[in-house]
Symmetry: C2
Subunit: 688 residues, 2 copies
């Protein structure tokens, strides 16, 4: 298995696409915008270990405002290194080198490396794993170190991280003299497994696996659950807890309420849950590729599938956002998926959908099934891409489906907890690694054979070497996601059989045309949503076209599961979910809360071009126009109670006045909040 964070280096974006455009913006603007934020906020030089006024802020508990600074810098370094591969920039290069140098100098003699517990609370190390993100920060630094090493070809950052991992391995583990703890915020597990995979560090593998297997042990530390024991060491009452904990002892917040294998449903903080599951998938991928074997593999795989299905079927918004509940930034009740704050929630943190991409990519290695790639595509093109402005200078953390007066649909330049912006940058830096994966193996008949599994469509070229020194190259070119003709060109040594598997998105209803067609069958069957082109086909067709007919790109109305209690319709086209905002519908002043649409209404497509300030190049998109009505609520006068008599024919409390229909303009959700307006936006309208 090649991690996408490594494999992306074999992908070059060609021609225009949303992904290529967004990559250009991050490289040209966003990385420097974020660097400026670091300089303005004290992050940039924090590893000089001087006191900063922010450290005096005690308004928040238990997490002080500077607690994630280590990880903010780490994610930025990681993303910046990915972009340096293709676009050198001196300012960025120098910033990375400065940061790495200060991090090296900030490392303590025993290997410890953490801002808060070195400068602010030097005697508190490992005293609050539950809340204090010590191991989380380390994980991001490890990921940064791996990216740094791949670009700079030196170990200036990796070396201190390996030393730090050694210290952590000597501190935590199953042995009696070690602490039996695990991180409150999982992250280090997946970082350690990357470290193992890329460098063979066995300590890292063992530590990651220990953290995963020990998590939620009800009697792990001196007969107690670790976090309960740990709190007693601090003399903290069980009822003293951060605002993220719904109740005392709500260990489900960080997925430690039971061993993961015994958890029936996905619960708690969404990013924590998804980083943790990604690491579990890594363990299984390592085993799958002939690495270290897992104990109880089948149960771990079943756990991954069980929790994935629970999330996708019952706890995911139409945009691929997850985490309905703001209080714990996480999962709510099954099917509890309101669209906005006044309706009860909808958080859909950017980082959570990014983490779904991580997890889905691993699951595709374990089980090539397009349902994982469908969700990967859904998250990427909707909840993730919406998180940065087209200018590349402003971001969202929360991605609601509906705005409100207290939570308008707007972006911010920065956040005190700034996890999302650099997470977006590093994902875009490595996004090429998610388009496809490939493998070259020894063929049973001797020689090599190769395969490429294509998950996402854009204009890009994959080039990878074979062990014998040859090169294989696959290009795809298309106008995706606007229309569905994808031209492929394959170049491979004649003696290397190549199998291609092309994902057929579920929203196409499996209608596609391959040209030239496969000789064996008029309507080729799909294997778990992938169309397989065997070597017999690829060897005789170096160019071919996969087309999804125009009908599969027709706008379509979607409805949510009945148990959501949402009498709502959504509009989608291809992989894109659409929304309406007041910038294009100036008649709306109440966040589209009373707007009714009707499946069956005619929808007109309109190709438009977006070119705004800070945008390097024009970008095409397709707007959709249809009819809407405003619901009449005048019958609900005040003070007379909660219900009204239903119309005996329609069952409605009020009759829709069709004469008053008006045009409503929908734009792709990822384009929201780029065009002015007052921040009124909504994805799901009332089904009329």
């Amino acid at each position: 298995m090649a991690y996408p964070q490594v494999a992306f280096r074999n992908t070059t974006f060609t021609g225009k696409s949303i992904l290529a455009s967004r990559r250009n913006t991050v490289a040209g603007t966003t990385l420097k915008t974020q660097l400026d934020q670091f300089k303005q906020t004290g992050r940039y030089d924090c590893f000089e270990l001087k006191w900063h006024p922010t450290y005096d802020d005690h308004s928040m508990w238990p997490v002080p405002k500077h607690l994630f600074w280590d990880s903010d810098l780490a994610k930025w370094i990681e993303g910046a290194c990915y972009f340096l591969e293709t676009q050198y920039d001196e300012e960025i290069d120098e910033a990375i080198q400065y940061l790495v140098q200060t991090m090296r100098s900030a490392q303590q003699e025993d290997g410890y490396l953490n801002l808060h517990y070195t400068v602010v609370e030097p005697k508190g190390r490992w005293s609050n794993l539950r809340d204090m993100h010590e191991l989380y920060n380390c994980g991001h630094l490890i990921e940064a170190a791996l990216a740094h090493r791949n670009y700079y070809k030196n170990d200036l950052l990796l070396e201190p991280m390996v030393k730090y991992v050694k210290l952590i391995s000597n501190t935590f583990g199953p042995e009696d003299h070690k602490l039996h703890g695990y991180p409150g915020h999982p992250e280090i597990e997946l970082a350690l497994l990357r470290l193992y995979t890329e460098t063979g560090n066995n300590d890292a593998y063992k530590l990651a696996r220990y953290f995963i297997e020990e998590r939620g042990n009800p009697t792990g530390q001196n007969g107690e659950m670790f976090y309960d024991w740990e709190a007693r060491q601090r003399n903290d009452s069980p009822w003293k807890r951060s605002d993220a904990y719904k109740t005392a002892g709500a260990h489900w917040y960080n997925q430690s309420h039971a061993p993961l294998l015994e958890q029936p449903t996905i619960e708690g903080h969404a990013v924590r849950a998804l980083y943790l599951l990604t690491a579990v998938a890594d363990l299984l991928c390592i085993e799958e590729k002939g690495g270290i074997a897992m104990t109880r593999s089948a149960e771990w795989l079943a756990t991954l599938h069980r929790l994935w299905d629970d999330m996708v079927d019952r706890k995911m918004s139409v945009t691929g956002g997850v985490g309905a509940i703001e209080q714990w930034e996480g999962f709510g009740l099954p099917y509890f998926l309101p669209q906005s704050t006044p309706e009860g929630g909808c958080y859909n943190e950017t980082c959570a959908s990014i983490a779904i991409l991580f997890l889905a990519e691993r699951l595709l290695h374990l089980d090539l099934d397009s349902r994982y790639a469908d969700i990967m595509e859904l998250c990427l093109y909707n909840n993730v891409l919406t998180a940065m402005s087209l200018s590349g200078r402003a971001f969202t953390y929360v991605n609601q489906l509906g705005s409100s007066s207290t939570h308008p649909s707007t972006r911010e330049d920065w956040f005190w907890c700034a996890c999302c912006p650099p997470n977006y940058s590093r994902l875009m830096g490595s996004i090429g690694g998610y388009l496809w994966d490939y493998d070259v193996t020894k063929a049973t008949e001797g020689g090599e054979e190769a395969c490429v599994n294509v998950h996402l469509y854009a204009s890009a070229t994959l080039t990878f070497p074979t062990p014998s020194g040859d090169t294989i190259s696959l290009s795809q070119s298309s106008d995706f996601p606007w229309s569905g003709t994808i031209s492929f060109t394959l170049a491979a040594p004649t003696d290397t059989p190549v199998t291609l598997r092309l994902r057929i998105p579920s929203w196409t209803n499996n209608t596609f045309v391959l040209d030239p067609s496969l000789p064996s069958s008029k309507s080729p069957t799909l294997q778990k949503g992938y169309l397989t082109l065997p070597p017999s086909y690829t060897s005789s067709h170096s160019s071919f076209t996969l087309s999804f007919p125009p009908s599969s790109f027709e706008p379509r109305w979607l409805v949510p599961h009945p148990y959501t209690s949402q009498n709502t319709v959504f509009l989608a086209r291809g992989p894109l979910v659409y929304c309406a905002e007041d910038a294009f519908n100036d008649w709306e002043t109440d966040h589209f809360r009373d707007v009714v649409v009707r499946p069956g209404s005619k929808i007109v497509e309109e190709e438009r071009v977006w070119k705004g300030e800070g945008q390097d190049e024009e970008e095409k998109y397709i707007a959709l126009r249809t009819r809407a009505w405003k619901r009449d609520l005048s019958g609900w006068q005040s003070g007379v109670g909660p219900v009204r008599q239903a119309d005996s024919t329609t069952g409605e409390s009020t009759t829709l006045e069709l004469d008053n229909s008006r045009e409503i303009v929908y734009i792709p959700y990822y384009l929201r909040a780029n065009s002015g307006g007052q921040g009124h936006m909504r994805v799901g309208m009332i089904r009329g």
Copy 2:
């Protein structure tokens, strides 16, 4: 103003009615059942001040299991005294006398009287007003003392309570040397105002008013909010809090987040909010009747109306239940009114709807508007009456609109926090006082004039004396709530003009017939929902009939406000809301969650008789039969995401198969969980 807890003594129930039947059950069964519970649980002799094993239980914090025992006994004494007025029972009488004797002997020398802080934590008095219910318990004891005095004509319980009030008055108040605190759970305020009204105790009035006016002062105690100051005295971290507090510093839980006059919406624990508002209404009623004037009366009245309307319009279930959120037993977001636990909540505590009756009754004194009586009737006949089994031996605390596997629709014999059962008893003991109110005043032309405002219909007689020594009597006789012909008989001295005002329920759509009719007008106009019969009419018609036509008792479909996001219809008939349960619909095994009904479907009424174990007499009710469909969810197979393509014609994800319709039987909600079954029940079905 006469409190209904006093005025009920002038009402005699005659003939059959649900209310009379339920009163008989409480008198004959429930009071003794509850007394048995007291004896089994340690409550009965707790004021002997011996140690009880329960006191060693530290599993809960901050509220130990015995904390409300004072109030449990007090509410029972209060209710028992009401019933003794009409039905003497030696066992009950002796129990009351024993309890009063132990309470007297438990009083400390300085007047203090509280179980927990005398036996369990003797040095902790007044150290945690926020959580520990000290003043709440005192309030219920005051109410018990007043009921005791009215029946026993002695001060054996009132005397120690007056002494205790003196102590509290010396402890809390605006003076510098006193604490500037107020109860975490309001209750004592309304009790103190009853004490003032019935006995003229000025200390009680001043103390109640202080508690109300000081509440939520952000700088009341040494420049701090009282509960923050108090927590610091205990060395408690702001983040140490009971599970009822959503976040640290969430003072809205007990309505102390701001002075009440400045609170825009009704928030937090529902019973606390409603007891508090009832006391505010009492202050205004006292002023209205010529008692002590309030400061800022108009603002207090506006606050009452503002918070009432917020509750009724945005935070009330169709059954009159309030408090959507289990965690704080209270109000959620506006229009957030799901039906069951898996949908996100629905708590609807019995005590909260009882408190709405208290508040509505006061509001009717301030503003005779049938919208308050409509809600009073709604709460009584649905969320309150459902809280006791027909046998009188089992109770509900929570009254959801829909059951679930974790929360079936069942009753319990008792609760560790047993507020609801004795609250139900004392309400039923005094329910006659809610049917109507009356007044006799000096007429401008000399002599006396009287008025009676009739709020609720049943078969009952009101008899009250006039100051000059005469007697006025008004009888009503009807089959309410099953049909709508109410026969009235009035007997009054010929020289006393009597004005009657008869409530016209909103659900009748104001269709009624008065016979004989009023001479002045063919269609008499209503004043705020009341039909006024002037002395010219009442003096010439000692008997008359008010009839609501059969059409107003036809079953009707109700729909909730669109902002509830509930695509639901409810079935109602007269003041009764209906539900379906599996006991009468044996085809249902999933809590009716997928059941679709259609407004417009034919509904058949069926008169039935209920006669069960422990039921003294047969009781008639009307069941409703109509058609239902089961929603087909087979298209929602697992693992493929959260939405489905809508049918382009119907907008539905699945088409209802009309061939599969089946009969569904609805019964009144107040009768649920009396007929066996597995506890599957639902009020609102999907609107098909």
